[in-house]
């Protein structure tokens, strides 16, 4: 397993290099530069800035400088934030994004699996319909609509939670953003779980278990849940990478200092260093999460393990 993981990690290095290279050159082809804006700078200032950031050098030389720094672990400067390097900014924003993302991820799994199992057990009965309807709301309504509604209801009218901000990091500040982030994923997980569980519950070994007189709860917990989780696990990789790289919408609306807004803002600001830095970070994270999913798959399915 370790050898397999190591091989997988090694194979991502060329992919990462190709992505960074493509990103580097595509970014430079985009119209508009980092110092264009409503207040155009005089040529002399632009020249000084170009020299300061090596932008006056030929593009290939700039690329080689960047790759050289990258190999030393330096993600370079950010044009939009003079006091922090790209790496520092990512390290500052990461704990916030990870806290919210991890909590949302766990809640999405717990709620999604529980609701999905209930839906499967009460298939085509009232609880199934009610839960399905609620889940549908979570899946269909986008974050940018749910978040303001929750702020209005729970933050302003009921005053149960702060409307936004990180505050002192206490749980009351985190409830709304976590719920908003978790909701659509909980919905999708529950639908996948329900479908998969219904399929598993109709299989012969479950019928055998029932014939032996095992109760429905034990049947689900001991026999059905593990095989039913296979499609759910497939979904968890992309879901985790989405949640752990932060959500632009949720972080913007709740005013959280995570990394979700970095990529989009950096792309709009032509903050080359930050765009490349976030691309590298996202890719590494996605590779790592996919690896975890594969390991989980192997644990769940002996056929994969013995392959």
């Amino acid at each position: 397993m370790i050898k397999y993981a190591f091989r997988r990690l090694l194979s991502t290095i060329p992919v990462l290099w190709i992505a960074v290279t493509a990103c580097f050159f595509v970014l430079r082809l985009a119209p508009g530069g980092p110092f264009d804006g409503e207040r155009p700078l005089p040529p002399v200032i632009l020249k000084n800035l170009a020299i300061h950031y090596n932008l006056d050098k030929p593009l290939v030389q700039q690329y080689l400088i960047y790759v050289g720094d990258l190999l030393k672990g330096d993600l370079g400067p950010s044009f939009a934030s003079e006091d922090f390097t790209v790496a520092q900014q990512i390290m500052i924003g990461l704990p916030y994004t990870f806290t919210i993302g991890t909590a949302a991820f766990l809640i999405a799994i717990i709620v999604g699996v529980a609701v999905g199992c209930l839906g499967a057990l009460y298939q085509n009965k009232a609880p199934d319909y009610i839960l399905s309807a609620l889940i549908l709301v979570g899946v269909v309504l986008p974050n940018f609509l749910i978040a303001p509604i929750m702020q209005l209801v729970f933050g302003i009218h009921l005053a149960w939670f702060p409307v936004g901000g990180w505050g002192d990091g206490s749980i009351k500040y985190l409830v709304l953003p976590i719920v908003v982030l978790a909701l659509p994923h909980a919905g999708r997980i529950s639908r996948i779980t329900r479908g998969s569980m219904i399929e598993v519950m109709n299989q012969n070994f479950i019928r055998t278990a029932k014939a032996k007189g095992i109760g429905p709860r034990l049947t689900v917990m001991r026999h059905a849940l593990k095989p039913a989780m296979m499609p759910v696990v497939s979904y968890l990789g992309p879901a985790a990478s989405y949640l752990l790289t932060g959500s632009l919408v949720v972080e913007s609306i709740f005013g959280l200092p995570g990394i979700g807004r970095y990529f989009v803002n950096a792309a709009l600001n032509r903050d080359y260093g930050m765009v490349l830095g976030t691309v590298i970070f996202y890719m590494v994270l996605i590779v790592f999460l996919n690896l975890l999913v594969d390991i989980a798959y192997a644990w769940l399915d002996p056929k994969v393990r013995n392959r």
Binding site: P31, G32, G33, P34, F35, D36, G37, E38, R39, P40, L41, P42, P43, V44, I45, K47, N48, L49, I51, H52, Y53, A80, S81, E82, D83, F84, Q89, M91, I92, G93, P95, F98, A147, P148, Q151, L152, G155, I156, A159, P162, V163, G164, G165, W166, D168, G169, E251, S252, I253, F254, G255, L256, P257, G258, R261, L268, N269, R270
Partner: protein
Amino acid sequence: MSFFTKKFLASAMVGSLLAFSAHAATLNIHNGGDPTSLDPQKLSGDWENRIAGDIFEGLVTEDAKDNPVPGQAESWTISPDGKVYTFKLRDGIKWSDGQPVTAGDFVFAFQRLVDPKNAADYAYLQFTIKNAEKINKGEITDLNELGVKAIDDKTLEITLENPTPYFINALMHYTAYPLPKHVVEAKGQDWVKIGNIVTNGPYKPVEWVPGSHVTTVKNDQYYGVKDLKIDGAKFFVLEDQEAALKRYRAGEFDIMTDFPTDQYEWMKKNLPGQAHVSPFLASYYYVVNAQKPPFNDKRVRQALSMAVNREVIGPQILGTQEPAAYSWVPPGTANYGEPAYVSWKDLPYKDKVEEAKKLLKEAGFGPDHPLKAQLRYNTNDNHKRVAVAIASMWKPLGVEIELYNAETKVHYDEMQRGQVEIGRAGWIADYNDPDNFLNLLTTGVSMNYGRWSNPDYDKLIKEGNAERDIGKRAEIFKKAEQLALDDSAAIPLYYYVSKNVVSPKVEGFVDNIQDIHRTRWLSIKE
């Protein structure tokens, strides 16, 4: 201990410390964007100015109404030729670490500002100082050639290239703040990090969480610390104005520095007296490419300008009562008096349209030969609304407009490269003086997107800037402005308004033309 554990423990400790030191008199400000830096020479936005102006103070500072008042300098004299300013620093002024603020700190800061290797975006604002531009261009390499000299620790002498009547106003800008030479030299680039940074303003920064907030507390070393009624401020980063308004309503913000315009009517009803809409020293305009036929024809430019019904833009299209603009320099600009206006300002709108039709016909356009043009704007709901409305106002003239929007970076890049027929632009004054607006139309400056060029205009601007007498200077400038307006150099549409929401418990908030409200002038009513 893991990074995350350290990070959270640090946050928790800072949080606890702040909680212990927090009083009711902490001001929570919705500040919009994330600051680029706490280094005043690395800034370019008004949201950064709010923080910088609280933690640093220049020779001259703003009062509550944004008038210049003595800051770190207690007095100054100006030489008879208007070129040499001699400042006497206050007694006992100190940095937040207790070190004295000296004239040498100002010399150091100005030299660092214009040093090309530091690449300060806004260095050009102090190009009126002798040799500043030459040093910044690399034509002079000796920084000591800059016209800023410390006569002794308490006396600073600044020599200008030419007499500059607005120089005192320019000294209020953050590019003129001093820097703690002893810290910058010791810490290098890291001088500005929390824990290293020392400041000379009423407050000092104690926490910065990028993307969230900057926290300041009273600077005990500040000469006026006893008069400060607010213990500190939290400047929150939040660009989503709808979300900011909700947080304001929940009491999480005391001041909002902008608000969604479509909520203005609701706020007037539900938050009476809290939404402040006030004239602002900024202008919203369209440029017309004067180098490109048919827009190089003055009649075409004038027709387009005349056919815009400016009176409906503020009240009906934007909803925040932005005043219609018929002058290039906004009314209320210092050192100027009443600006010049377009000659047709007071005509009824119907007559303006008729006149515009006539002008277009003379220029060879009509129903069988419509004028086709592209109107470019940077992506934004308000810009779109205005553009759609104006395109429909031009329709009766037989003008066919193609709307084209692009993200801000692309829009301005294309504008600067002259790839524009008609384009949206805006200008917020750096300093309160007509020169700051009139300069936008001089030949060859980066901001002259329409590339309108008139040697007489350029001559008048030069002449005005060389004139020491404020009254005479204003007259010369007004001639220049009239010339530009008569030639329809650009199409001014409306003057911006500042939009703040201020909690009833905040006192001392005075609406002013540059929308500058330093925390030191405010207080919180319990």
